[in-house]
């Protein structure tokens, strides 16, 4: 590999940040999302074992599905025995649950919160509205396929899914993490341009930096 000048590398990596006013464009980040590479074999197994047992959710009730998330935390279904707790800020959370349909205004906030979460991070999509639009397939304000905008690791079907179905979904996510197959964030980092093009196509009022981190 030939040695490139640092300035050229920086120019290649610069994002457009075109949604911001002129004087703020260089204040915001111009880095791209980076991959989270796996460590060596045994350490990675141990680290995945630990990650699967401490999934902290981001408390963002994006849609209908948020109604069945609250009974999960009570003593009848009790998800804190799985190590799952709700956190208020994206910096402290590792799982983002997208509950149901996402309107255009909400998808902008979902993208903003998702990019602020620190890797390794996982996404669960609840309900049938995330798979193919559900019963709002002909609505002018809801999106039909959420995995064109955010990488999804597990889908949970139903409308709404019962708390037992949610626990089964969490178990499935845990198995995937332990096997090391959950790489939504790496997919996002590799295909960043494609995701960003899809997002910018529907979010017309883009007044935030291109990559919020």
């Amino acid at each position: 590999m030939e040695k490139k000048d640092l300035n050229e590398i920086e120019k290649e990596m610069k994002l457009a940040n075109e949604g911001l006013p002129e004087k703020e464009r260089i204040l915001f980040s111009d880095a791209r999302p980076s991959r989270v590479e796996p460590l060596n074999k045994y350490l990675e197994q141990f680290v995945n074992w630990a990650r699967a047992r401490s999934l902290w959710l981001l408390a963002f009730g994006t849609g209908c599905g948020a109604t069945e998330l609250r009974p999960l935390m009570t003593s009848r279904f009790d998800v804190s025995r799985f190590g799952i707790a709700g956190r208020p800020t994206p910096r402290q959370a590792s799982v983002f649950i997208i509950g149901g349909y996402a309107s255009i205004k909400t998808i902008k906030r979902i993208v903003r919160s998702y990019e602020q979460m620190q890797g390794p991070k996982y996404v669960i999509a609840l309900g049938s509205c995330t798979i193919n639009g559900g019963m709002y397939y002909d609505s002018y304000n809801t999106i039909n396929r959420i995995d064109y905008y955010i990488p999804v690791d597990t889908y949970i079907a139903g409308c709404m899914p019962r708390p037992e179905a949610l626990i089964a979904g969490f178990n499935r996510l845990k198995e995937k993490i332990q096997k090391g197959e959950c790489d939504g964030m790496n997919k996002y980092a590799d295909n960043f341009d494609w995701y960003k093009k899809n997002q910018k196509q529907i979010i017309k009022d883009w007044n935030m930096p291109d990559y919020n981190w």
């Binding site: 639009g133 002909d138 002018y140 039909n144």
Partner: protein, 186 residues
């Protein structure tokens, strides 16, 4: 209520009253008289509570119909007031001086139908849509299925069945396929 209608009849000529239920009446008012009638009903006849104000699109007559729904706490009756306005130049006077919270309904109707209310506070703000560049979505000539297919990628594999054909095939399986029996609906 009969006295109220009698007094209203003196103020408007050819009053058309439609009684839907015992506690729901509808009257039709011209656009110029709306301000006067609403003030009269609120101050003199005790119709103090405004339930809502909405619009209906009658595209075949080239008109919009606005509806104000009022409620009287004493005689416990709802009264709906229908106003027809023109569809080409869609505009209506703002009534926010009578009820202050009408600015919300007027903002929503402006965003969803494109009817302008000059003078209403905060009427140009967006209510639920962000970055919307097409025509106002609640109008009858906006095709929402086509917009959804164009903008959001639908997942392939969705199919629709016409219920009549499906039931015919399910119940009259041999009848539908047999060529010798005469079918009446063909």
């Amino acid at each position: 209520m009969k006295n109220i209608l009698k007094r209203l009849n003196e103020k408007i000529d050819d009053l058309v009253v439609v009684k839907q239920r015992d506690d729901l009446y509808f009257i039709k008012v011209k656009r110029e008289h709306t301000d006067f009638i609403l003030r009269y009903l609120k101050l003199d006849e005790n119709f103090k509570h405004l339930d809502f104000m909405q619009a209906v699109d009658y595209i075949e007559n080239n008109q919009f119909q606005l509806t104000y729904m009022l409620y009287n706490y004493e005689i416990k009756i709802n009264l709906g007031i229908n106003v027809m306005i023109d569809r080409e130049k869609a505009e209506m006077d703002s009534m926010h001086r009578i009820w202050p919270h009408l600015w919300q309904y007027q903002r929503e109707i402006h965003e969803m139908y494109g009817i302008n209310f000059p003078g209403s506070p905060r009427v140009d703000e967006s209510f639920v849509l962000e970055g919307w560049e097409e025509m106002p979505p609640m109008r009858r000539d906006f095709d929402t299925l086509e917009y959804s297919k164009r903008t959001f990628y639908p997942r392939p594999g969705r199919s629709t069945n016409d219920p009549k054909e499906y039931m015919k095939e399910k119940l009259y399986h041999d009848f539908a396929k047999s060529p010798k029996i005469r079918r009446d609906d063909e």
